[in-house]
């Protein structure tokens, strides 16, 4: 009887590990694709040697506006290298309220980031997701642009481009409510209705549900997307402030793929407690 049970357990363990390895291999293959893409078109990806070839010009839609993401009729791609620290280079100028500065500093020590617990993380945090971020421009047909997470919780944000206003009353969410418009070649996106269940960047720049987050996307050539954000959150800062300009790089010829954040997660301690102990007192992942 014990022998049968042991065989059953062993078989289950083998099938589980084989499944996990399969997923890991698949992720590994996908993870290599952006590197191949970076080498094309002279985008200046990391590790590239020799002088970079000039990048192709900004791809444009029939109406003359830039394709922020993949161009219709071409192979899809995505953007890598989003901002990891919104206050980068201007930390001492950020008008933190005292509590917010203390929280920011503390988060440099204790990194309990919700993203590592597979939580959807909105606004700029969406662009420092592993394996990049894809824009799906459906403005012509649906008056929407979608932003797809890859290595995060496999979710997406909708940017409404139909001129609508934000709802007067709503329940705050991780991605909030985004509306966009064009200012010349720059896509300007304003997001409100954000909850407090995520960090705005990987370093824990704090916010409250009073946040209004304005993003400016400018595709300066085929391989370069400039990104700048203005943070207006009277619950956290004494005045609105604007980040520096961050640069994301295009990874060509890569398709989105299924990524289940919970599978093969290498940070289980971050899902259930501190970095030094497991906390099972909650019945949900905090």
């Amino acid at each position: 009887m014990n022998y049968v049970f042991a065989v059953a357990v062993l078989a289950f363990a083998l099938s589980t590990s084989a499944f996990a390895q399969q997923g890991q291999a698949q992720q590994g293959q996908q993870g290599q694709q952006p590197q191949q893409g970076r080498g094309q078109g002279g985008g200046g990806g990391r590790g590239q040697r020799g002088p970079a070839a000039p990048a192709a010009p900004t791809p444009r839609r029939p109406d003359g506006k830039p394709w922020i993401g993949s161009a219709a009729g071409q192979k899809p791609g995505r953007w890598n290298g989003g901002p990891t620290t919104l206050p980068q280079g201007i930390l001492e100028k950020v008008p933190f309220q005292p509590w917010a500065r203390a929280v920011y500093d503390q988060r440099q020590i204790d990194q309990f980031e919700p993203h590592t617990r597979c939580k959807a993380s909105g606004v700029s945090r969406q662009f420092s997701t592993p394996y990049g971020t894809e824009f799906v421009d459906m403005e012509k047909d649906l008056k929407r642009i979608y932003i797809l997470d890859m290595g995060g919780p496999n979710s997406y944000r909708i940017i409404y481009m139909d001129g609508r206003e934000h709802p007067k009353d709503f329940t705050p969410t991780n991605y909030g409510h985004s509306v966009g418009h064009w200012e010349g070649d720059t896509l300007v996106v304003e997001t409100v209705g954000l909850n407090e269940k995520f960090w705005m960047d990987t370093r824990g720049t704090p916010h409250t549900d009073k946040l209004k987050f304005t993003e400016r996307f400018t595709r300066t050539d085929m391989n370069t997307l400039q990104y700048q954000a203005t943070i207006d959150d009277p619950g956290t800062y004494t005045a609105p402030w604007t980040t520096g300009v961050f640069t994301m790089r295009w990874a060509a010829n890569v398709d989105p793929f299924e990524y289940i954040c919970q599978d093969n997660n290498h940070g289980p301690e971050l899902m259930l407690g501190s970095q030094t102990e497991i906390d099972n007192t909650k019945f949900f992942v905090p």
């Binding site: 990891t84 620290t85 206050p87 980068q88 280079g89 201007i90 930390l91 001492e92 005292p98 509590w99 500065r101 203390a102 929280v103 500093d105 503390q106 988060r107 440099q108 020590i109 204790d110 309990f112 919700p114 705050p172 909850n195 407090e196 269940k197 995520f198 960090w199 370093r203 824990g204 704090p206 916010h207 409250t208 549900d209 009073k210 009277p234 619950g235 956290t236 407690g273 501190s274 906390d279 007192t281 909650k282 949900f284 905090p286």
Partner: protein
């Protein structure tokens, strides 16, 4: 008795819902549950709901039929020195010493005799950026005093 039990469960569910709605914002915001007492053997349940509105902290104690609004509350921070994270974090090279988050709140509650008791709670948040942060400290009420310990749900 049955009603009281149902009510307790309902209050816990409400408290959990409130805490789920606010995880990573102001460290005080959310629902805190624990106890207070004069000795380790004599404890009383204590539930505190706190909310940061951008400039002030407000809240309730023991939501339910005996709910009491918080008369005043505040959190004071004493900044530590940030950890070195290199240029990307824009931090200096000083060793990490944590900031201190102290908490003060006052409550007027009716006693069993009908008189109003004035409670003063002073404590600190022990792990302010963790989801399961705790608040510990001492309380006074007239000549009575003791300690309290709360964990954010």
């Amino acid at each position: 008795m049955k009603f009281a039990r149902l009510f307790f469960i309902f209050a816990l569910l409400i408290a959990a819902a409130v805490s789920v709605a606010a995880q990573e914002g102001h460290p005080l915001t959310g629902t805190w549950y624990g106890d207070f007492g004069m000795t380790t053997g004599q404890r009383n349940d204590l539930t505190v709901i706190l909310k940061w509105d951008g400039s002030n902290v407000s809240g309730l104690v023991n939501p339910g039929p005996n709910v009491v609004p918080i008369k005043s509350a505040r959190m004071d921070v004493k900044l530590g020195t940030p950890a070195q994270r290199g240029e990307r974090g824009g931090q200096g090279g000083a060793p990490a010493t944590p900031s201190q988050f102290s908490v003060h709140f006052e409550v007027d509650a009716k006693s069993k005799t009908g008189a109003m008791d004035h409670f003063v709670f002073d404590g600190k948040i022990e792990n302010p950026v963790a989801g399961n942060r705790t608040m510990v400290g001492n309380w006074t009420c007239g000549n009575n005093k003791g300690d309290f310990r709360l964990r954010r749900l």
